[in-house]
């Protein structure tokens, strides 16, 4: 297997070319399809045009000069290799988010590998068992490295994909820009750590301020939504349309429309959505993000061209995706572990108030804790795991959010089934690697602990992670 640069994909990542999931593995000399794919990723400083050509280019940290990084598209079940050469002035790693892969390939500094020094190289290799929408991002100094742009999509293709007219990818990022279109300083703000993190002021799709998605009436679009923001939670509404969710975090679910018409996506979460474009030719519709109180905004507009519908009736091809080989947990024999999320502002407990002078009380200075313990920063390998699970055993994680804030909780190395919320069964056979836990909510998820190693479990609001909402589980 030889490495090829991925830079050629950059132009194809925009909304329209947006099919964006370009195939990355142009066959090199001596390649056969079964050899799988190899890419080179080089994280380093770059300048990108993000908010329009009239504004100054934005200084970012990027994979291969682009943020998001190249959209990698791989066939399910074939080997993948990524040579990562560090062009940053600090250490880095790459985490393959949602992949059920060997522990040594998980990209957590200190826990699964030594961080890649400046100028150094690390080769990641794994075979993706599951088809779906996944992603990759830095897991070292991750608040700032992700906040400056080190993230990209990783799409694993089904052997037999569903019938659609177009397969689009929206990698959504959120930036806090100053009026010169530069990333504002102030990462690690102590108030934001204890509140909802560094939510930005500029949302991009595939690295640009989105303007218009041009569609034709009658077409069916598979839209892969990836929330690659470090803190922003999104609630997307497609005006005049009925999106059907067919997969969450890459894992197929029963096709369904979201309960209140809003697709709720916390940081790191993905949704594959089928959109039958049943609007009127020539009309425009808005896609609105209405998550934050009184701060709804139009993310992007959908514009129908004037041509008559592509077909008289919506496509009647099935919406359900082929299943992935994820083991189903045995709930009767599962071991149950409580995971209490604690801290933050207005917590009603240790962090109910901050002392005069800005000092925080409790938890040894950390803003957050899991079951009373705070693993901060990028993690520490010497902290013992929260608990160990015998390999092959089914496990229920019983999340109890004792805080006033939302937490997208991410488990590495496994996909879990979302069982219930506040005692009510979650419908549609929903799976994921990141579950959004509402303030004061109890959520239970279950998985088969079949992947040996020490695995991170943390909140994917990056400031919450580095502020203590992080731990590890041991499988083996």
């Amino acid at each position: 297997m030889s490495s090829i640069p991925a830079f050629a994909l950059r132009r194809r990542q925009f909304l329209q070319a947006g099919a964006a999931c370009a195939t990355i593995g142009l066959p090199g000399p001596g390649w056969a399809a079964s050899d799988g794919l190899a890419v080179t990723l080089r994280p380093g400083p770059a300048r990108v045009s993000m908010v329009g050509d009239a504004a100054p280019a934005t200084a970012v940290w990027a994979y291969n000069g682009a943020t998001p990084g190249p959209a990698l598209r791989l066939p399910q079940g074939t080997p993948f290799r990524a040579a990562v050469t560090n062009g940053l002035a600090e250490t880095t790693t790459v985490h393959w988010h949602g992949m059920r892969l060997p522990n040594g390939m998980d990209g957590v500094p200190g826990l699964t590998q030594r961080p890649i020094p400046p100028g150094g190289r690390f080769d990641y290799a794994f075979t993706p068992p599951d088809a779906g929408t996944f992603w990759y991002h830095s897991h070292d100094h991750s608040l700032e490295q992700m906040g400056r742009g080190l993230a990209g999509a990783l799409v694993v293709e089904e052997a037999e994909p569903p019938t659609v007219d177009r397969d689009l990818l929206w990698t959504i990022q959120d930036w806090r820009l100053d009026p010169d279109a530069q990333i504002a300083p102030g990462f690690n703000n102590h108030m934001e750590i204890a509140m909802d993190g560094r939510v930005g002021n500029t949302v991009t799709i595939n690295g640009r301020l989105p303007e218009t998605l041009h569609v034709r009436a009658g077409e069916r679009i598979r839209l892969r939504l990836l929330n690659a923001a470090i803190a922003r939670i999104m609630a997307l509404q497609f005006e005049g349309h009925v999106p059907v969710i067919v997969a969450l975090d890459g894992q197929p679910c029963a096709p369904h429309t979201p309960a209140d018409g809003r697709i709720l996506l916390g940081p790191a979460m993905r949704a594959d959505v089928m959109l039958d474009m049943q609007g009127e030719p020539g009309r425009r519709y808005r896609v609105v993000d209405a998550f934050y109180d009184r701060l709804a905004y139009t993310l992007v507009r959908i514009a129908y061209d004037a041509r008559p519908p592509l077909r008289a009736h919506p496509l009647d091809a099935p919406l359900r995706l082929p299943p992935n080989p994820v083991p189903r947990p045995d709930l009767a024999s599962a071991i149950v572990h409580e995971v209490r999320l604690q801290g933050g502002m207005m917590g009603g407990g240790m962090m109910m108030s901050m002392g005069n002078g800005g000092g925080m009380m409790g938890m040894g200075g950390a803003a957050w804790a899991i079951n009373g313990r705070s693993m901060t920063g990028d993690g520490s390998a010497d902290m013992p795991p929260l608990f160990a699970i015998e390999r092959g055993r089914s496990c229920i994680l019983d999340f109890r959010n004792e805080t006033a804030w939302w937490h997208p909780m991410h488990l590495h190395g496994h996909s879990f089934q979302v069982l219930d919320r506040d005692g009510e069964d979650v419908p549609h056979d929903e799976w994921g690697d990141t579950v959004l836990v509402r303030p004061r909510e109890r959520v239970r998820v279950a998985f088969v602990a079949d992947n040996p190693g020490d695995w991170m479990l943390h909140c994917h609001v990056m400031e919450h992670q580095i502020g203590g909402l992080m731990t590890t589980l041991r499988v083996g």
């Binding site: 934001e192 930005g200 303007e211 502002m345 207005m346 108030s353 005069n356 800005g358």
Partner: protein, 152 residues
Amino acid sequence: MTRRDFAMLMAAALPGGVLLRPRAARAAEAIPVTLYKNPSCTCCEGYAQYLDQNGFTVDVRPTNDLAEISRRAGIPSDLEGCHTSFIGDYVVDGHVPVETIRKLLDTKPALAGITLPGMPAGSPGMVGEKTEKFTIYAISRDGTPPRVFDVV
């Protein structure tokens, strides 16, 4: 989000913009306040009510850009409160009691503003008992280090 939205968003991040939600006319002496707060934080609403009941008229604006607004107003990050108000030419950060605000407005010092860091228990708008004196810091216009403005 369009380019125009981006431009407006940037404009909104600056103090002194047009009031988005004009309120009913109040007594002539009510002092207008623009208060920026995290959309999810409730204690800031309590503080806005406290000001409203004490001779001010408050325009509450939820924003995700609070840290940036505060930074651009000159508040050092380690002295930030949990919301940022603009009153006349001054920035008033955090749960500052009205007595201290009136002292600022009456004496008109050459300052950028004042701040009560953090969210001390028992301060206006906050729950809990006041267990300690509050130190309110003066923020200079020229970047010189903050000094104590008031202790209440």
